[in-house]
């Protein structure tokens, strides 16, 4: 079981309020990603759940029990750190076994569990090596092994893939997701990379300035962002925002259209007119950065190759069903 509930959790460092009251319900077995720009408090929130920081106010419930006064090790959670934090003088076996050894588990049972964890993570050939003799991906797996061997109620991941190169990151992303599904253990994963968030999460928590902006499944966040911040943060490339007369016609202060919902027409007449400033040809997609005079710079995504070059005139026609409308305070207006 690993049901985690946050009730009005607050954290201040002196006069600085890092977390301004977070309420969250994480169901057992789900993969929840905390995402937000740097300094938004996502790592602090994770450390509060882990018990590495004390809450200033509110309650953290794990399986219905308030754990704010319980030391980290007794919360039944395990954490994978950004720097992996492997013990450098211990072998891989020693690293994975350390938590069990501290819990006073019998030696042969430790061996059995360590070997089972190593087998799951393809670490068996490296059990007797020291961390410094391993590659980045292998170290990452040892850190995960150290987390799973204790059979925790939940895994906490603190930007675990940020030290890996791009190709390895994609591979580890898959491995982590698959492992979590296979074990069925609740996982909380902190990242600043919204692609990681979208691909891995069952549910995403978008944080900004110490507040939870929205909590929902990746597609909910993509299709129905609560506000301007979530709309701009989720999705790549970023959503285009237009203010002024055009927005007022739609009964909003700001309207937003995602680049993939803009139809591109060469020398077209309708829609929004502009000149191509930069065209990025990826083969599978073409990203156009269009200078649309009063509307500012707009980004459009075309699936496939489109033979356009800087200076070409284009018109961008927004999909009327997929225009997001926001009021004065930046909140979404739902029809």
């Amino acid at each position: 079981m690993g049901q985690i509930t946050l009730q009005g959790v607050q954290k201040s460092f002196g006069p600085v309020h890092i977390i301004k009251g977070a309420d969250l319900e994480i169901t057992d077995g789900s993969f929840v990603v905390f995402v937000g720009p740097s300094g938004c408090g996502k790592t602090t929130l994770l450390r509060l759940i882990a018990g590495l920081e004390d809450v200033t106010g509110g309650a953290i419930l794990i399986d219905g029990r308030n754990v704010v006064d319980v030391p980290p090790a007794k919360r039944g959670l395990s954490m994978v750190f950004q720097s992996y934090a492997l013990y450098p003088h211990m072998s891989v076996r020693g690293n994975i076994a350390f938590g069990l050894k501290m819990a006073g588990v019998a030696k042969d049972e430790i061996n059995r569990k360590v070997e089972a964890a190593a087998a799951t993570l393809n670490l068996t050939p490296y059990l007797e090596r020291k961390p410094r003799e391993l590659s980045g991906g292998q170290r990452q797996r040892v850190a995960i092994g150290r987390a799973i061997v204790r059979e925790p109620k939940a895994f906490l991941f603190d930007e675990p893939l940020s030290n890996l190169d791009a190709a390895l990151r994609v591979q580890m992303r898959l491995e982590v997701t698959r492992l979590q599904k296979q074990l069925g253990t609740t996982a909380i994963y902190v990242t600043h990379d919204q692609v990681e968030a979208m691909t891995m999460a069952d549910k995403i928590v978008v944080l900004n300035g110490g507040k939870i902006e929205q909590y929902g499944s990746p597609l909910e966040l993509y299709e129905k962002p609560n506000n301007l911040f979530v709309a701009g943060f989720i999705g790549s490339p970023k959503m285009n925002f237009v203010t002024g007369e055009l927005a007022r016609q739609q009964g909003a202060t700001t309207i937003g259209v995602r680049p993939e919902h803009l139809k591109v027409e060469r020398d077209g007449q309708g829609g929004w007119q502009g000149t191509v400033a930069v065209a990025e040809h990826l083969g599978s997609d073409t990203f156009l950065y269009v200078d649309a005079a009063a509307l500012g710079m707009l980004t459009a995504r075309y699936v496939g190759e489109l033979d356009l070059h800087p200076g070409d005139r284009v018109s961008l026609i927004p999909d009327p069903a997929r225009i997001h409308r926001f009021d004065d305070s930046g909140k979404s207006i739902h029809a």
Binding site: L52, A73, S78, M79, F81, Y87, H89, F98, M102
Partner: protein, 290 residues
Amino acid sequence: MATQQTQLLARTLLTPAVALLFIWMIVPLALTIYFATLHYNLLDPGSESFVGLENFRYFLTDPAFLASLQNTLVLVGSVLAITIILGVPLALLLDQQVVGLSIVRLMVIAPFFVMPTVSALVWKNLLMHPVSGLFAWIAHLFGLPAIDWFNDAPLFSVILIVSWQWLPFATLILLTALQSLDEEQKEAAEMDGASAISTFIYITLPHLARPITVVILIETIFLLTVFAEIFVTTGGGPGLQTTNIAFLIYSQALIQYDVGSASAGGLVAVVLANIVAFFLVRIVGRNLEA
């Protein structure tokens, strides 16, 4: 990487420095070896004559030699043990966040900057003096007889003074090492359920293995040649109780004016230091390999 020209240039430019260092080292060594083979006593000028290895036989069979060798090893071993056993907890304390920490740190480091002669005098006259010393005063407060440190426990007194001087060095090296310990590692241990003691044994102490090695190697080099503290406090006595090899050589040369025997002793000391260094590097030097 380097072309032949740059190699040649490097060698040419290095030559003067290397040559100077070489002369600096080889001339005293050659002279010492030369004196060691002579009957050369300053009280008997003009009687210098070649005696072969007679000085070595004399020095090594002198009962003072074995006594001073033992004193040297006891002194080095005890000071190493004291500075490391006290240095580790002291460094752990100084690694905590406390108000006024910078001042406390400065005061802990201070003894290291006091000259050996000065600190020995302070200990001898202000602290350990059986009549006017602070320790005697404290003993009187409790109605106890004052201890005459340099008569009753002379070698221990010297060990105490030298340890006091070297404790800051050990603490400083260990403190900087502690500060480089990854915070996330301690947190990982915390998540793994390690108590403070377990964290110390399994995480902190292994991390300190290398700096402890450094402390042992560096301190040994200097502790083998402790001289000023002994000269100022006990003068090697009572009897031979605080005479170490360095002091024995001094007494051969400048108390007995026997330059030949002192030179032989100096060479023996060089060999001994190398033997100690050899074993040290074998035992603890492994820790220095990355």
